[in-house]
């Protein structure tokens, strides 16, 4: 093997090592961090494994919000009008969180079927419905109280 070829071989090996490493890194990170969305109906049907982080969304059920007087702990229920999911959360709720509003929460189910939220999202203005929630409501056969986000 000529010295130049040898050098090239090293270079190719190095590149392969780099690309392989990057791909491995990428695949593991990707695998671990995909968060699936499930509707309250899917949760109620037991389609979601326990101890897995996922997103659930729906309307905050009227009269379901119970705050703890001493801390930030709050309990509420989201619904797609067919099924409900009880949620507990310890933290500051977003500005647009209120009963009847569509929200999405990130978190896990505990052993009692209660969703422990790490994050609660309620973006946009009061007419806005997260697309996932609108989809869940449609699947559950309910008419969304608000339409999809208005254009503009």
């Amino acid at each position: 093997m000529t010295p130049r070829r040898k050098k090239r071989l090293y270079l190719v090996a190095l590149v392969l090592l780099g690309v392989g490493g990057a791909t491995a890194l990428f695949l593991t990170a990707f695998q671990e961090n995909i968060i699936l969305y499930h509707s309250p109906t899917e949760v109620a049907q037991g389609k979601v494994p326990h101890g897995h982080t996922f997103r659930v969304g729906g309307l905050v059920k009227k009269g379901s919000v119970k705050r703890n007087e001493e801390s930030l702990k709050v309990r509420f229920t989201v619904t797609d009008t067919k099924h409900d999911v009880p949620i507990v959360y310890d933290g500051v709720l977003p500005d647009l969180f209120r009963e009847g509003q569509g929200i999405v929460a990130n978190g896990k189910l505990n052993g009692n079927g209660v969703f422990v939220a790490q994050k609660v999202l309620a973006k946009h203005d009061e007419n806005y419905m997260p697309p996932e929630v609108a989809d869940s409501l449609k699947k559950a056969g309910a008419k969304a109280p608000h339409s999809m986000p208005r254009p503009g």
Binding site: F30, N33, R67, E69, S71, L93, G152
Partner: protein, 668 residues
């Protein structure tokens, strides 16, 4: 009347853009000088018409003409006049008009400052930019006309999204668009080179200043966006890996790679094909960014629009631009290949590694951003990719990049040797390791956690980059007898490069320190309650009612003390705008170079004591993140003043003049 004039101006601008693209491109192809000469006046006229349309829209906003749908949706008469003006880019239609306006600014700049370029080449660049303009003007006229009327005319407008009623919103979009659209110049140069088959060091020297300017704006735009999100969203985060942020970050990464590969193309005549491909990619990503943010495919504060016809148009446009340019590249690219050799250990190799790493980083972000959209579009379910994915992939890639950056700073073109590099860099390596690890060991109390490793890694890398950057200036001093003389003689590019690299290090220090030592508390506080965070005591004084120009606010007061000494008083606000029921969080921040104290109000709690849910943060060195961005941009500005570009212009002016005399109409 005025809106109709605006409409007419847009239509005329479209005609000008058509003339500016078709005639010069055909002229350059067939060698007809008068056709090519049309490009400059057409570009300037197009600028005039778009500027008139922009002014017309501004007039509608300032006079609160709610018969214009876009004005009615994004403004109201209670809005302060500066927000009425900036509301132009507070919605979809106006943003596209701003995009087009910025494009015509860049096009006119190219028209005015390209007289030293060969006439054929300048005509092609302007022609390509004209085509892009045609695409955007048609888009506006067909699907998103900002002047569309509304009947019946509402008595009062809706409002500008309160999130956008802020100084950051005045500056962020125009700056970012200057950067996005600036990539169209790079694109124009690349396509012109492919069409003309001229791709050499001179080409790189012409395009470099343009791309540097665009990159400076893009850098400032990304940094501004991060700063704005930090204080406006009230979560204390400075980067969320939100698709909209990614949309601006991907062109930046590609643009950064482009700047580096252009250096090789100019200095050594290498990587030509690659540089052209990067220029095409950078602009395609800018278009993709516009598409992502503007078509409503994303759920985010930025995605105002949700009209599918717009999405289809932009996708088609994107397909034509990307597909067409890649096809051209495939057909013409190889014929412009060529260049000299370089050895395995050389600056070329290191810059190649830089490019590969930046592009890989961009690709991983692209995948993480688009994957959920693709899965959703295919009906395979709804999912999202969490921020940890981006951090996990991005941090290792950037770490390797920064290690290589140190070597790149000191390496030689063409051929270098490992022993020589080691000889120059051993002190830097030892110094960075001692400095970084020593500081980390002092800062981290518990040594047996991953924290020491993380802080150590960040600080060692930053120190390594800073030391080697200073060293790169130092070793280039030709005349060591007189330091001042030597420093003065160095080309500006050397200083610019060093400063931009130091900027990167400053940003990394900021990210490392903020991530590792951020202290936060989310709690319920009643007036009189105190909370202690990293030695600072926050005392909640309660909430007052405050009246703003177009909102009412609950204004909290937090007295911050340290060891009994007063530090500052923070005033976070919870605003409720008159026009709509959307409450807004306005954080109270005390900013220092060494730390930020940050308080934001959640909601009033039920109960008699006037308690609120509250977020408190102590963020060490968070300012450094944006300071670093500023230094990078400053480095770019300094590099622009390099004598080389002015010399190049003077050298070129002679042959260019003779060419002009051959084609009298070519003076434009």
């Amino acid at each position: 009347m005025i809106p109709e004039l605006g409409n007419v101006a847009l239509a005329l601008a479209l005609c000008m853009a058509l003339i500016q693209s078709v005639l010069p491109l055909a002229g350059a192809h067939r060698g007809i000088a008068p056709w090519m000469a049309v490009a400059r006046p057409a570009a300037l006229a197009q600028f005039g018409f778009v500027a008139a349309a922009f002014a017309a829209l501004a007039y509608c906003f300032v006079t609160s003409d709610f018969s214009v749908a876009f004005v009615a949706e994004n403004s109201n008469s209670a809005l302060p006049v500066y927000y009425q003006l900036t509301a132009i880019w507070g919605g979809h239609e106006g943003s596209i008009l701003l995009w087009t306006f910025v494009l015509t600014i860049w096009t006119s700049a190219v028209a005015l400052f390209s007289r030293s370029l060969p006439a054929e080449f300048a005509a092609r660049v302007l022609g390509v930019m004209g085509l892009i303009s045609v695409g955007f003007l048609l888009f506006m006229l067909l699907t998103s006309n900002p002047f569309a009327r509304l009947t019946p005319v509402p008595a009062e407008g809706a409002d500008l999204n309160p999130l956008l009623q802020d100084i950051g919103m005045i500056m962020h979009p125009p700056t970012l668009y200057m950067g996005y659209v600036g990539m169209s110049v790079a694109f124009g140069f690349a396509i012109a080179a492919l069409l003309g088959g001229r791709l050499d060091a001179a080409w790189a020297r012409w395009s470099r200043p343009w791309i540097t300017v665009a990159w400076i704006f893009l850098t400032c735009g990304v940094a501004l966006g991060s700063w704005w999100a930090y204080y406006e969203l009230g979560w204390g985060g400075w980067w969320f890996w939100d698709p909209v942020e990614n949309a601006s970050f991907m062109p930046w990464l590609t643009g950064t790679a482009l700047i580096h590969s252009l250096a090789v193309t100019e200095k050594r005549g290498l990587f030509k094909s690659w540089t052209v491909l990067l220029a095409i990619t950078a602009f395609s990503l800018s278009l993709l960014g516009t598409f992502l943010v503007r078509s409503g495919v994303l759920t985010s504060v930025h995605a105002f629009a949700s009209d599918p016809s717009r999405g289809i148009y932009i996708l088609t446009f994107l397909g034509i631009v990307v597909g067409g340019s890649l096809l051209l590249y495939a057909v013409r690219g190889p014929s412009t290949l060529g260049g000299s050799r370089f050895s395995t250990v050389s600056r070329e190799t290191l810059l190649l590694a830089n490019n590969v790493l930046l592009v890989v980083a961009m690709a991983t972000i692209l995948l993480g951003t688009l994957y959920p959209l693709v899965i959703d579009a295919l009906g395979l379910g709804k999912l999202s990719v969490g921020p940890p994915y981006f951090n996990k992939v991005f941090v290792p890639i950037m770490s390797v990049l920064m290690v290589l950056l140190g070597f790149g700073n000191l390496s030689r073109w063409k051929q270098d040797s490992v022993p020589r590099l080691w000889h120059h860099l051993r002190f830097a390596a030892v110094g960075a390791a001692v400095l970084g690890l020593g500081t980390a060991a002092m800062l981290v109390s518990d040594w047996f956690t991953g924290k020491l490793l993380m802080v150590g890694l960040g600080l060692v890398l930053a120190a390594w980059v800073v030391i080697t950057s200073v060293q790169s200036v130092w070793t280039q001093l030709s005349d060591k007898r007189s330091l001042a003389e030597g420093l003065r003689r160095l080309p500006a590019g050397t200083y610019g490069m060093a400063l931009a690299h130091i900027g990167l290090a400053v940003t990394v220090v900021g990210i490392t320190m903020t991530s590792a030592f951020n202290a936060e508390e989310r709690l319920r506080m009643a007036p009189g309650d105190t909370a202690t965070l990293s030695g600072y005591t926050f005392r909640f004084q309660g909430v007052d009612r405050v009246q703003g120009p177009n909102y009412q606010a609950a204004r909290g007061s937090f007295i911050v003390t340290r060891d009994g000494d007063p530090v500052t008083v923070l005033h976070p606000e919870k605003r409720r705008y008159v026009s709509g029921g959307k409450p807004m969080t306005e954080a109270g921040i005390d900013a220092r170079l060494s730390r930020d104290l940050y308080a934001s109000l959640g909601q009033p709690m039920s109960g008699e004591d006037g308690g609120w849910s509250v977020r408190l943060y102590h963020k060490p060195m968070v300012r450094w993140i944006w300071l670093g961005g500023l230094l990078m941009a400053a480095g770019g500005v300094i590099a622009l003043t390099d004598r080389r570009y002015r010399l190049a212009r003077r050298q070129r002016s002679a042959p260019a003049a003779s060419r002009h005399s051959a084609a009298p109409a070519g003076s434009g």
